[in-house]
């Protein structure tokens, strides 16, 4: 009963949130157009979508009728060789302002990058500061980690309490998923003898991706709705973790397979070795791209459907749009689970290739 309620709650949040964000975006574009005196100018869907899926230094909530945007300004943390560490609010950089010799580039190749500006107001392209800012994605990540920690630490506590009796409450909801990861991902790929060592990583990566995917589907309020698993840096790090674990657990057979592939004549080795080495890197690369592209694509589709209302400038399109958005959100819910599963499954598969005894 409780889980059912929770799921329906998530759905309602999803739908209302989507509508809120859609309504919230409308005046922004219109006022902007009015301000510029170009009310005939077409609504720029791609900018709208990019602003929603890309990482940013602020968490935009909504824009007032007078064009004033209401946002949570996130801290900017910069490091440059000359100026050292700098921490300040991103509000100081809003509207193209320069602060402490830093400026957020809004156009050109460096769009979205915080750059150093020299005394003449010119961008110093040689010394781009390292940007360790707490961006929208980082807040999303952090929140997902907190939610995950609360969830699983309380789960662990409940296991300590119930001992070996049947699962109760939250256990009955999460245990099948944990057992699924154990039995159908870890054991079926890595094998009964070696799976246990990799279980913590596989479970962590599965639930980390899942929580972030699901949080990304809920569009409002913060910290929900950040496109975390659709951020290539995040998927890059996850893929690197899988890569490192795979390589570090590679046994003799694995390396022999790379450097002296069995059954391949020796004169083919100069070709085979580079191919195998490329294979080592292309596997996690595919993991990175797959997760990033799937989640980003889902967000783009949902946002595009919302954009239809503003492109047609008609409220009549809204029901159709909303219907499609509901459908897409259901699909994205599936994709959220599916991509977490696929990432974990492939990680387990790569690990199994590295640890298996013979071919």
């Amino acid at each position: 009963m409780k889980t059912k309620d929770l799921i329906s709650l998530v759905f309602i949040l999803l739908l209302t949130g989507m509508t809120i964000s859609a309504l919230g975006s409308e005046p922004q574009e219109e006022t902007k157009n009015k301000e510029n005196g170009e009310s005939e100018e077409a609504f720029d869907a791609s900018t709208f979508i990019m602003e929603h899926i890309a990482d940013s230094h602020e968490w935009h909530l909504f824009t007032r009728k007078n064009g004033e945007s209401v946002a949570v300004y996130l801290p900017v943390i910069l490091y440059s060789k000359e100026k050292g560490l700098d921490v300040f609010s991103s509000k100081k950089l809003a509207h193209g302002h320069t602060f402490n010799g830093y400026k957020l580039e809004e156009e050109g190749e460096l769009k979205g990058t915080i750059v150093s500006v020299n005394a003449e107001g010119k961008i110093d392209e040689e010394n781009i500061p390292l940007d360790f800012s707490i961006t929208k994605a980082v807040v999303g990540l952090f929140s997902a980690a907190i939610i995950g920690l609360l969830l699983f630490l309380s789960l662990a506590r409940s296991y300590k309490k119930t001992g070996i009796s049947h699962p109760k409450g939250i256990q009955s909801f999460l245990e099948p998923v944990i057992l699924f990861v154990r039995d159908d991902i870890a054991i079926s790929n890595i094998g009964k003898d070696k799976y246990e060592k990799y279980m913590p990583y596989l479970l962590t990566v599965f639930f980390f991706i899942l929580i972030n995917n699901l949080m990304g589907l809920v569009p409002f309020p913060p910290p929900f709705g950040a496109n975390v698993t659709g951020n290539i840096a995040v998927t890059f790090v996850l893929a690197v973790f899988t890569f490192l674990i795979t390589q570090l657990s590679g046994n003799k057979n694995y390396w022999r397979h790379v450097f002296a592939t069995p059954g391949v004549p020796f004169w083919l080795l100069p070709v085979m070795i580079p191919v195998e080495i490329i294979g080592i890197f292309s596997k996690p690369f595919a993991l990175m791209i797959r997760l990033f592209a799937n989640i980003t694509a889902g967000h783009i589709i949902v946002l595009s459907l919302v954009c239809l209302i503003f492109i047609f400038k008609s409220l009549g399109v809204a029901p159709v749009s909303i219907l499609f958005v509901i459908f897409m959100d259901c699909l994205e819910l599936l994709v959220a689970f599916l991509q977490a599963y696929v990432f974990t499954l492939l990680s387990a598969l790569f690990i199994s290739l590295a640890v298996q005894d013979h071919h």
């Binding site: 890309a54 979205g112 940007d131 929208k136 952090f142 913590p200 840096a233 995040v234 890059f236 790090v237």
Partner: protein, 171 residues
């Protein structure tokens, strides 16, 4: 205008840094404080269930075995009872038969003995009768003879005859 941070397909160094930090900590904390107890609890439960099932199966098999044992014992007992009964019946029959035989024999023996006794008695009686008859007849005869002799005086003559007959010379 949103304060964009980097383009979509370029991994940002800051995000990489924070993701590594957050994911790493998330992993370490969960591995130590969540996955370890959860997995061990689940494993312990699995093992307990497996053990319970196994022991139940074993108990079932034991019971079946016990049942069949019991049946075998019962069957054996029944057989034994049958055997004992049969033996008893045999013994009884034999005893009866033996007793019968013995009794007949004994009876025959008794009868024989009786017959022998009777025969003996008869013979004795006959002998006695014969003796008596002899005595009686002798007496009667002597009486008759004595009477005659006395009447006739022939006794003396007879004695004389006898005496004459006896040859004294022979001795």
């Amino acid at each position: 205008m949103v304060l964009l941070a980097n383009s979509l397909t370029t991994p940002a160094i800051g995000t990489i840094f924070w993701t590594t930090l957050i994911f790493g900590l998330f992993f370490l904390i969960l591995a130590k404080f969540a996955w370890k107890p959860i997995l061990s609890a689940v494993k312990a439960r699995d093992e307990m269930i497996k053990g319970s099932l196994e022991s139940a199966e074993k108990a079932r098999k034991d019971m079946l075995k016990l049942q069949s044992d019991n049946e075998a014992i019962l069957r054996k007992a029944r057989e034994e009872r049958e055997g004992i009964l049969k033996e008893a019946r045999d013994i009884r029959d034999k005893l009866i038969l033996e007793a019968k035989g013995k009794a007949t024999e004994e009876a025959e023996k008794l009868i024989e003995k009786a017959r022998i006794g009777i025969e003996g008695e008869k013979r004795k009686a006959l002998a006695e009768i014969r003796e008596q008859v002899t005595t009686l007849s002798v007496e009667i005869a002597s009486k008759i003879v004595g009477e005659k002799l006395r009447q006739t005086g022939e006794q003396d003559k007879l004695i004389d005859n006898y005496l004459k007959e006896i040859d004294f010379t022979k001795n």
